[in-house]
């Protein structure tokens, strides 16, 4: 029979905690799926426009920049592909990553009520967040495909790699989000700071314009870890050689251990958070 022991020391064997965490992820597959399904169903049942809302923000941002560019208000360097494809693929990827960053904290926040009442594998919240992101992103990708074909970029074999890069982007964002969740659950400031900071971060990432040839902006943009994700994804989508593939692989390789560490941190922090926020 399964025996559980609760005491103040959390028996800090990182390895053991990780194994338990992964076991819980496995055990709660149905729960993660069900939670994601519930939220998606609820999201679309109470709305007529439904799916449209998933891409209305990136589309709007893209249109603003397409307009600024085509009207000559802003002079942008040549991107090598039709600008609408460049802008939309950028804003779309950006929206996926920012959603991924916010996903763990919003999933945890919306489960506040049950967290303080029922013991269930908390990892399911993170997983359901990822599932929801995958669903929403796949809808967006369909729109991106329309853009690609409409503007005559056409099909490239590397397009098949695009979903993997997109998934890597979600993974990257979720890892970041997972790290800030414990603090963000305690202080509302964290969530606001993230939203605020990301607005600025977008302008040092090649989302709507390319990396300049020289200057401080070039250095910042090249170091920015968001850059290789956006660029690699876009290059695969339109069939250009991926210029930042190495950096991309390094970022993702770093994310794998970081994700597990964040997962352990999340697991340790939940009881502390429940205690402080008990509804």
């Amino acid at each position: 029979m399964e025996t559980k022991v609760y005491q103040k020391e959390n028996n800090l064997h990182l390895g053991k905690l990780l194994v338990e965490s992964l076991k819980d992820i496995r055990r709660s597959r149905f729960l993660s799926f069900q939670l994601a399904k519930r939220d998606i169903q609820a999201q679309y049942r109470q709305s007529y426009l439904g799916i449209i809302w998933a891409f209305v923000t990136p589309l709007a941002t893209a249109f603003v920049w397409i307009f600024l560019n085509s009207s000559g208000t802003v002079q942008l360097t040549d991107t090598g592909i039709p600008y609408p494809v460049y802008a939309f693929s950028g804003t779309l990827l950006w929206s996926v990553i920012t959603e991924a960053i916010n996903s763990p904290i919003s999933s945890t926040n919306s489960a506040k009520g049950i967290l303080s009442k029922i013991n269930f594998p908390k990892e399911a919240l993170v997983m359901s967040g990822i599932l929801k992101l995958l669903f929403n992103s796949s809808v967006k990708v369909i729109l991106l495909l329309l853009f690609i074909f409409f503007y005559g970029v056409g099909f490239n074999w590397s397009l098949l790699l695009f979903p993997f890069v997109l998934f890597a982007g979600i993974f990257f964002g979720t890892t970041l989000g997972l790290f800030i969740t414990p603090l963000g659950m305690l202080y509302k400031d964290i969530g606001r700071m993230i939203t605020f900071g990301l607005q600025f971060l977008m302008y040092v990432t090649p989302v709507v314009y390319a990396i300049p040839k020289s200057g401080i902006m070039k250095t910042v943009m090249e170091w920015n870890p968001f850059t290789p994700i956006i660029l690699t994804a876009r290059d695969f989508a339109v069939g250009m050689p991926p210029a930042y593939l190495t950096y991309f692989l390094i970022v993702i390789a770093c994310c794998i251990p970081l994700f597990f560490i964040a997962l352990i941190f999340y697991r340790i922090s939940i009881p502390i958070l429940v205690e402080r926020m008990s509804a």
């Binding site: 559980k4 103040k8 939220d39 967290l115 029922i118 202080y187 922090s269 205690e275």
Partner: protein, 407 residues
């Protein structure tokens, strides 16, 4: 199944909470940081903290039911949260064997705009069922909840009773080894409540149950172990359930009384005398009386000249503020007319009130020629509190003793 198998073992459990939100959040940050390094230090109270649960120990075997009682804020829910693994203790240890089921929040995970059927899956998933299990049980759940007609309607259109029914119906499918119940039966109509109690009764046999309730009749019916908490600490614990319930009632020592009347009669003194006419002194505010003994109620009054004929009546009021017995002088054909300083004694041959504490109210009324009640000279709704002891079981307000025969 081993009779003596211990499923829940709680050893010197303590938990502290913070009274101030901002400080609490800051401690949260510190705890997060120290949580990473294991935080093995002895934990002491930091400023603005208090012990919500202090040094609680008990053991529970399969088939046993612990009644966890105490006034609001005594630490019961905190204890349940630790037992359920939602928060970690600050000292001590909990060992739980087997699957834990908690009836704390019914209908967790319901989304109001989804239908009842969809929400059965949501709730079931959170309670740890697999899809297959829910598929198998869904008809049973719908029947148990008795809402087949509305099962495809959004849950937001359900009445609160229906939501609770559906929630309980799902939870009732659990087959836990340890069951934690926190006051969930307070809702729903009588029929459904009976159904819930029956289901819990079924579970009782094969599980260890921790039952939190403010309804003492329910506790005395279900529990065979008791833990009374006050300010986080154990007041009384163990197998003597009726003792615990008794002490629970005593915690609500309510000295408030309503005093009135037209002022023509004043109370000078009130005493209860025992068989040998010795006055009974109050212990912790209670006069301790023994069941089925003889007692004399002595009332010293100052009666003004205008008063004509009058009678005395006592009433016994239980903790649920229900009048459970009366003692009227007029029914014993005793009506008084003496004025000035008087002492009126009423003797009860056998006080057969059941175990518990009772407030005694007293009133002195005018009685008219036609035997109807006239003016109220005096009343005091709570002149003294008595506690009846000397009878072990039973929580009915009246306990007869008599001669029994078998032929």
């Amino acid at each position: 199944m081993n009779e003596s198998e211990i499923l829940v073992k709680v050893e010197n459990l303590s938990k502290k909470f913070c009274k101030d939100l901002k400080t609490s959040l800051w401690y949260g940050v510190k705890d997060l940081a120290s949580g990473l390094s294991g935080n093995k230090n002895e934990r002491e109270l930091r400023p603005k903290e208090f012990w919500a649960v202090k040094d609680i120990s008990f053991e529970l075997r399969r088939g046993e039911c612990l009644g966890l009682i105490g006034h609001n804020g005594a630490g019961k829910s905190t204890l349940l949260k630790i037992l359920n693994g939602l928060i970690n203790p600050d000292a001590g240890k909990v060992t739980i064997r087997g699957r834990v089921g908690a009836l704390i929040e019914l209908g967790a995970g319901f989304n109001p705009i989804l239908s009842g059927r969809e929400n059965i899956y949501n709730n079931g998933a959170i309670l740890g069922f697999t899809k297959k299990e829910i598929d198998e049980k869904i008809d049973k759940i719908i029947d148990f909840a008795e809402i087949r007609e509305f099962i495809d309607m959004p849950v937001q259109n359900y009445s609160s009773g229906m939501k609770v029914r559906l929630g309980f119906a799902v939870a009732a499918q659990m087959e836990p080894d340890v069951l934690i119940i926190d006051e969930v039966l307070a809702v729903g109509d009588v029929g459904f409540r009976m159904k819930c109690l029956t289901r819990i009764g079924e579970l009782l046999k094969s599980t260890a149950v921790i039952f939190v309730s403010h309804s003492m009749p329910q506790v005395s019916r279900i529990a065979n172990k008791i833990l009374l908490m006050k300010n986080g600490s154990e007041v009384i614990g163990g197998l003597n359930v009726s003792d615990g319930i008794e002490r629970y009632y005593q915690l609500f020592q309510n000295g408030d009384s309503i005093i009135g009347g037209n002022g023509l009669i004043e109370i000078k003194d009130f005493k209860i005398l025992n068989d040998s006419l010795n006055c009974i002194d109050a212990e912790n505010g209670f006069l301790i009386l023994k069941h089925n003994y003889k007692y004399t109620f002595q009332l010293k009054l100052k009666v003004k000249e205008q008063v004509k004929k009058y009678f005395v009546n006592y009433s016994f009021i239980d903790k649920e503020t229900k009048q459970v017995a009366n003692f009227f002088s007029v029914f014993s054909d005793s009506v008084f007319s003496k004025t000035g300083e008087v002492i009126i004694e009423g003797e009860i041959e056998n006080l057969i009130l059941g175990q518990g504490t009772y407030s005694i109210g007293v009133a002195v009324n005018e009685i008219k020629e036609c035997n109807s009640r006239g003016e109220i000279y005096l009343y005091n709704s709570n002149i003294s509190i008595i506690s009846i002891t000397g009878i072990e079981t039973g929580h009915a307000p009246v306990q007869f003793l008599g001669n029994w025969n078998i032929n």
